[in-house]
């Protein structure tokens, strides 16, 4: 297993290098001069010139990339133009709400997807299956900002059960914290639940048609024990794959959800940085998100080996 992990880590290095090159290029894709794009025309030319020097934009691009990479490798992702704070500190302050949101959304999605997916597969083509597949279609087609506004309209504005924006840390005040995270987490979790439900249903249907299931039934096992003991574990691989693939969607969804519910997370930080044209902050946060995404996918790959010992990496 250690060899597998080492091999996957090595394979990640060239991708990481290209990712850094891509993120570095971002700043230079700005039409015209990035400093002019970042700052208003009225800003004094000497201020712009100083910033240009400070960011190293007056040097040749390969030199800039080498210097930037050197700093990145030392953990220095630059400083925000707005507040002058290092990018790492900006992200550090915002990471907790994002992780709490992602964890709660994932929990909600699995709590919905597993029962719905299993019942849909076991009762295939029955009314309950139709309800399950319709739910999956609804979740996949519904943009999360629209779902967020629907939930705000029903539970925040009409019923007034839950807060419609703001954040309280659940570690400081568990009740108020969870109340502040319920609507964003349901928004984010439902879309994920829809995809997982669809995948789980189809992989369960495939597994239910296998010979070992017929054998288990012939031995007199109840349908529940067949599903729990034989089918579910074998149907998990595609679900783990989809969960891994959906991480990107989850992060993208978190950007929108944090924006709608005014949660002070990393997603909201990206949007704020984009609108403030704070390019060093955009660069740094996007790089961190991409690296986090790569590491998460790496973990999913490694997880396969634990779930299914038949999987061999060549």
């Amino acid at each position: 297993m250690a060899q597998v992990v080492a091999r996957r880590l090595l394979a990640t290095i060239p991708v990481l290098l290209l990712v850094t090159a891509g993120v570095f290029t971002l700043l230079h894709l700005t039409p015209g001069d990035p400093i002019d794009a970042m700052m208003a025309e009225s800003v004094d030319a000497s201020v712009k010139e100083n910033l240009r020097k400070e960011l190293g934009l007056d040097r040749p691009i390969p030199v800039q990339y080498a210097a930037w990479m050197g700093r990145v490798l030392r953990g220095d992702l630059g400083r925000s133009i707005r507040n002058g704070e290092p990018v790492i500190e900006n992200v550090g302050r915002r990471i907790r709400p994002s992780l709490q949101l992602a964890a709660l959304a994932m929990t909600i999605s699995l709590a919905i997807a597993f029962p719905v997916g299993i019942v849909s597969a076991v009762r295939r083509n029955r009314p309950v299956d139709r309800v399950g597949t319709t739910f999956a279609l609804f979740g996949i087609c519904m943009p999360n900002f629209l779902l967020a506004l629907l939930l705000i309209f029903v539970f925040g504005v009409t019923l007034r059960w839950l807060p419609i924006s703001g954040y309280t840390d659940p570690l400081e005040d568990p009740v108020a914290g969870l109340r502040s995270l319920v609507l964003p987490a349901v928004t984010l979790g439902l879309a994920l639940a829809a995809v997982v439900t669809r995948t789980l249903r189809s992989s369960l249907l495939e597994a239910l048609a296998e010979d070992y299931v017929r054998t288990a039934r012939a031995k007199g096992l109840s349908e529940g024990r067949v599903v729990r003991g034989h089918v579910l574990k074998n149907a998990l691989i595609p679900v783990v794959t989809v969960l891994g693939l959906q991480l990107g969607t989850l992060i993208g969804g978190a950007v929108i959800t944090e924006y709608v519910f005014a949660l002070p997370g990393v997603g909201r930080l990206v949007v704020d940085a984009v609108f403030a044209r704070d390019y060093p902050l955009v660069q740094g946060v996007v790089l961190l998100i991409a690296v986090g995404f790569i590491v998460s996918n790496l973990c999913v790959d490694i997880l396969y080996g634990f779930i299914d010992p038949r999987i061999r990496y060549h």
Binding site: V15, V19, F153, G248, G253, V274, Y279, A290
Partner: protein
């Protein structure tokens, strides 16, 4: 009881009848086509279909409820929501189809070159595609939209970049599989140049999965455009786009929810329709799905 007599009484394998599956599938496909055709008609005929000028403000009639004069009500500056939804259809469909078409062309070319050349070029191109795929799609589109500037062009380029690797990988896989076939060897043996083999043999045979992927991607591209417009990076006000209309209306959710739910319903229905069409195209062109359909 002898063996031959067993056959009529062989254990009955319970199978769902094929007809319900097929009928529900074709029903959703037909519904999808109807929605798509209607959306295209509305987009093309927007000037004739829209009952009012989508940009004309009437502050005296702001936040008016849905009524005969304004079927979907008016927004915070008195503009007719229905007319803006109608004009927004154009933006959404253009964003969906054009960005996917750009990604299809770019990705197919890159995949073709990678699969055909192999070696270092293949390695470099595919690692570059892996790098693009390493970014969460919306975050990449957001970052690209930020540097390219708000507006439809920036959104189209950003979405095309996001979707290109999918087509490149798909095309490369097809090229590797097709170039190993006997008829390609035969063409080579007859002295056909590489470009001719690629054009006459590889491309036509690789089309089906690319078309399936494109048909499934359009719905997601429309959702992505709406998301970017919602965040303020798409079409800029006062021009109408569903995402920006929903964003503008969220401040009036209590007084005038129709500002949000008019474009929201249009977006949802269009995406459902395109998903149905995408599924139908996949069912028709993907032999594996066809086979599964027969077995259910």
């Amino acid at each position: 009881m002898g063996g031959p007599e067993m056959a009529p009484h062989a254990p009955h394998v319970r199978r769902a009848p094929a007809k319900p599956w097929r009928s529900s599938s074709s029903l959703s496909a037909r519904l999808g086509v109807v929605i798509l055709v209607a959306a295209l008609a509305v987009a093309v005929g927007a000037p004739a279909v829209a009952p009012h000028d989508p940009l004309k403000q009437n502050l005296g009639n702001a936040l008016a409820r849905p009524a005969a004069a304004h079927w979907l009500g008016t927004d915070n500056v008195g503009r007719d929501v229905l007319s803006r939804v109608v004009w927004g259809t154009r933006v959404s469909l253009v964003a969906g189809f054009v960005s996917v078409a750009m990604a299809l062309v770019a990705g197919s070319m890159l995949g073709l070159v990678a699969g055909y050349c192999g070696g270092r070029i293949d390695g470099l191109l595919m690692r570059a595609m892996d790098a693009v795929l390493s970014f969460p799609p919306l975050v990449l589109a957001l970052a690209l939209g930020a540097v390219l500037g708000a507006g439809l062009t920036g959104v189209l380029i950003a979405l095309a970049v996001v979707y290109t690797p999918t087509f490149a990988r798909l095309m490369r896989g097809q090229v590797l599989s097709i170039t190993a076939r006997d008829y390609v060897d035969a063409a080579r043996a007859l002295g056909a140049p590489a470009w001719r083999i690629a054009w006459r043999h590889v491309l036509p045979n690789a089309t089906a999965p690319i078309v399936v992927q494109a048909s499934l991607s359009v719905a997601f591209a429309i959702l992505a455009e709406a998301s970017l417009s919602f965040l303020g990076l798409g079409i800029q006000p006062p021009a109408a786009s569903w995402g920006s209309m929903i964003n503008a209306g969220r401040g009036y959710l209590q007084q005038a929810p129709w500002i949000v739910f008019g474009p929201g319903a249009a977006l949802f229905v269009t995406v459902v329709g395109l998903n149905f069409v995408g599924d139908a195209v996949r069912d028709a062109l993907d032999p594996r799905v066809r086979e599964q359909g027969r077995q259910v």
